[in-house]
Symmetry: C2
């Protein structure tokens, strides 16, 4: 979907205080660790890396920090690994007494190329407030500068905008105070026997770890909040790694506690101050509430959690079923906005039909547990939707699903139909065989989020070699291009692609990209 902001300020929300209390009871403690930079680096040109920029060691930077920096001097600290947290540094003056304030600019970057960009010329449509950049004035030295905000960074650029001709600024003891709610001591069984896949898993773990804060954040650099679609995938990756169920539980309660008056669940919740639901609604994300609850309860059955959260899942299902007609056709185009992917524009109808069937299958498990009196009706409607897909949307000639009145063939449709299991297994196998022939290397997927579903569909339909190779190629290429953690968006043909008009504000540690941990653990055993 192309990027648009939703503003639905007329929507009224309910607050279920009991559910909010449960969310609060499950708030995790944050763990703090101090890190020192490995050293100073300078930017270098490297066409193999994202943005064509990489780093080389620069001992002159360390010397400059120690001897004194004047107007225009800059150094880049490299912490060696990405961290989410606060930054502090000692500053003193040398030379004559400090006769004017020190003006210092600090920039924080996940990847070196971010430091090569001129943020002042940014013209993307996301808020420029997301730039990880501060300009501070220090009136007296010595001082320890302790920035109060949190950043996501491996690199810190210190640039002296001005001192005075009489003194220079010296810097000492830079510290990154990392924070996460993830507990690394939970990690076990960490090799799958393949070095490339292991390297991918380690970066995926770090991605998840840095997004695990007081909620599962989508990206610690930008957005820094709980999104429902991201939560579903983070929870899966969490089950396969840190396995901290309380954090998943907390996030599910947060969504359930804040429905609209007509019962819809927001796509995203703000928790930095007062807990606030956003007025953004995404149809697929809403359906994924039930999927995420199913995923949780199949691993950790909890009677109370089930009882308290089932009604919200049911409400999302009932809402969506309004747009399923008597023929089993899901009119997602008449419902509220789906997300699916930051991909190229394509007809979403067939893919959303798949999403509905996929979600209904998992909801049915919940409805059975609830002995829901509407169970027969849900089952019937699921069958109708699946039958409609088979009968009206499958093109036997090409062996692919088609979408919309123009009978468009797109990647998302095949993937979601495969995941929705609307065809018998051998036909689903053939479907993904045909999809691979048509779409590999799957450049219609512009995000690791969509690519996760491609990989899962390949695994589920009996194409483990293709699935494994896609993980190696797609996530592995990010590693080759300099990733320490996985990115929000990635088009290998256009590495600087950003859904936001400028890669400067893309997130390079993004939760929905961490799923190889789960995919490999689930399908490579």
């Amino acid at each position: 979907m192309a990027f648009t902001f939703q503003k639905n300020t007329e929507v009224r929300f309910r607050r279920d205080e009991a559910l909010l209390r449960r969310a609060e009871e499950n708030r995790p403690a944050l763990r703090y660790t101090q890190f020192r930079p490995l050293g100073t680096v300078k930017l270098t040109q490297d066409p193999e890396k994202l943005g064509g920029v990489w780093t080389a060691p620069d001992s002159a930077g360390a010397a400059l920090m120690a001897e004194g920096m004047g107007r225009g001097d800059a150094v880049i600290l490299d912490f060696g690994a990405p961290l989410v947290g606060r930054f502090s540094v000692g500053i003193d003056s040398v030379g004559s007494p400090m006769d004017a304030p020190l003006t210092l600019r600090l920039r924080f970057a996940e990847l070196p190329f971010e430091l090569s960009m001129d943020n002042s010329s940014y013209d993307g449509w996301l808020s420029s407030s997301w730039f990880q950049e501060e300009t501070v004035h220090l009136d007296t030295l010595p001082a320890r500068l302790e920035l109060p905000r949190r950043y996501s960074f491996r690199y810190v650029e210190l640039r002296v905008l001005d001192t005075s001709p009489k003194y220079r600024a010296v810097f000492s003891e830079p510290v990154g105070l990392a924070q996460t709610s993830a507990d690394r001591s939970n990690l076990t069984d960490r090799s799958c026997g393949d070095a490339r896949l292991d390297a991918i898993c380690r970066a995926a773990e770090k991605t998840l770890e840095n997004c695990m804060q007081e909620v599962f954040e989508d990206g610690p650099k930008r957005d820094r909040r709980l999104w429902l679609g991201d939560l579903r995938l983070q929870a899966l990756a969490n089950y396969a790694s840190f396995d901290q169920r309380e954090l998943v539980r907390r996030c599910l309660y947060l969504f359930a506690a804040l429905p609209t008056e007509d019962g819809r669940i927001t796509a995203t919740v703000f928790t930095a101050g007062e807990v606030i639901p956003d007025d953004t609604f995404l149809l697929d994300y809403s359906l994924f509430f039930g999927v995420a609850l199913h995923d949780y309860l199949t691993r950790h059955w909890e009677e109370r959690t089930f009882a308290e959260l089932y009604p919200a899942a049911k409400m999302q299902t009932d809402t969506a079923l309004q747009w399923l007609d008597g023929d089993g056709c899901f009119h997602a185009e008449r419902a509220y906005q789906p997300f699916l992917d930051w991909g190229r524009d394509y007809d979403i109808r067939c893919a959303m039909q798949g999403v509905l069937v996929f979600a209904l299958r998992r909801f049915l498990w919940l409805a059975e547990k609830a002995a829901d009196p509407k169970l027969p009706e849900y089952r019937e409607r699921l069958n109708a939707a699946a039958a409609y897909a088979r009968n009206a949307l499958f093109d036997a000639e090409t062996g692919l699903f088609v979408s919309g009145p123009a009978r468009e063939t797109n990647l998302a449709a095949q993937v979601w139909m495969a995941l929705a299991e609307v065809l018998p297994p051998e036909q689903s196998h053939a479907l993904m065989e045909a999809a691979a022939a048509r779409f590999a290397p799957y450049r219609e997927a512009r995000t690791p989020y969509m690519m996760h579903h491609v990989v899962q569909a390949l695994y589920e339909t009996g194409h483990p070699d293709k699935a494994r190779q896609l993980i190696r190629d797609y996530w592995g290429t990010m590693l080759d291009m300099g990733a320490d953690t996985f990115w929000e968006a990635f088009d290998p043909d256009r590495p600087e692609f950003s859904p936001y008009g400028s890669p400067a504000l893309s997130s390079f540690c993004h939760a929905w990209s961490c799923t190889p941990i789960w995919l490999i653990k689930t399908y490579e055993k």
Copy 2:
């Protein structure tokens, strides 16, 4: 003098802890007062005002603050009068939930034209760190933004650099928390019967008040520290207004406590953190230590202060007398750098001969009190210096003093010779008559500091009408051009003149400009 930075990092200082303790004992309490802006204003063009910029009321600004500001929106708050202190404002969001940080730029200005300048294009040679400007990010709202630094301002510009398309920022309850150590309840006898002069005195009082902090600062916007030459004039203005002797005492002790190993007194002391003497030395300022001590003790005789500070005054005198030769010629050009004024380049020798005689006369009063055994020698050297001035530097033909081998005639020479009383009274009267004919309206003086000495010389030599008119013209023109407080530098022919290459960093509340209070009280009774 043209502007140069002194860097003398090889100089070693002594610290007299007993004198520093006395300075500390006299540290004043700061008084705090909350102010609210009168309203919002917009910049207007007005060729009569400094920089061609003035303001007009702008009720749209207040509405914008209340209704919500988005990317690029700006308002200017007008507090109606200048204050020195901190600023805070309440901020909340309206619209959809706040889904990105707020980036806010705040600029503080003493005069409207400062807000019309683009600080990023500044190319003066003072540190750009002095710009009263902050860019802050707020991650969550509502919040009360309390900036920790102190500013000197009447106007505050709030400019939203970015929100996000989903919300706008609303602002409420802006507060300026003014601070000063001046006690307005000490002010009495506040009219001289002339409205123009009274208006000048009120602005001069405000100038002094805003510079009275934990020391007499030279300018609360820029430098924000104790300078010896400024102290001498601030002390005089203080005697004629707030009359807070403890602050003068504190400042005298600060200078005396921190001499170099060879006994020289620094031109300026930093007191914001640890008390530190600057490595800048100005010959005339050093001599003014004794003058300031004389001025203090003639008003407030204190045996202990005299005993503890006389040695420092004596050391400055003895140091300067090294360069007074056997003929009575003062070789200031061989000594260390004098200041005199931010004026045009001129030969400083004759003026410095005058400064020496002026200072020696006052030092002699101290030496007499001390019954200094060297008293006869001091008296003899004073007489020699005065005689040399009369005999070698006075041009009977023009009735003016000349300076240097080229026998240059400049304003500073006449003024300092008049103040030094090297000629009999009737000849001094004629000297300033001739000086007026030659130099009025005294455009060689580029600062209120130099103009103070011109006015005093006119009063002292029996030209009260000329002196009074000069106050009305020079300080009064600043009022006409928008001054609430008096400026660091002012050339009525080139109002944007700055000694620093750009008026953007000139100080528009500068201590040495506050002397009309003293001049009028002293000479207009």
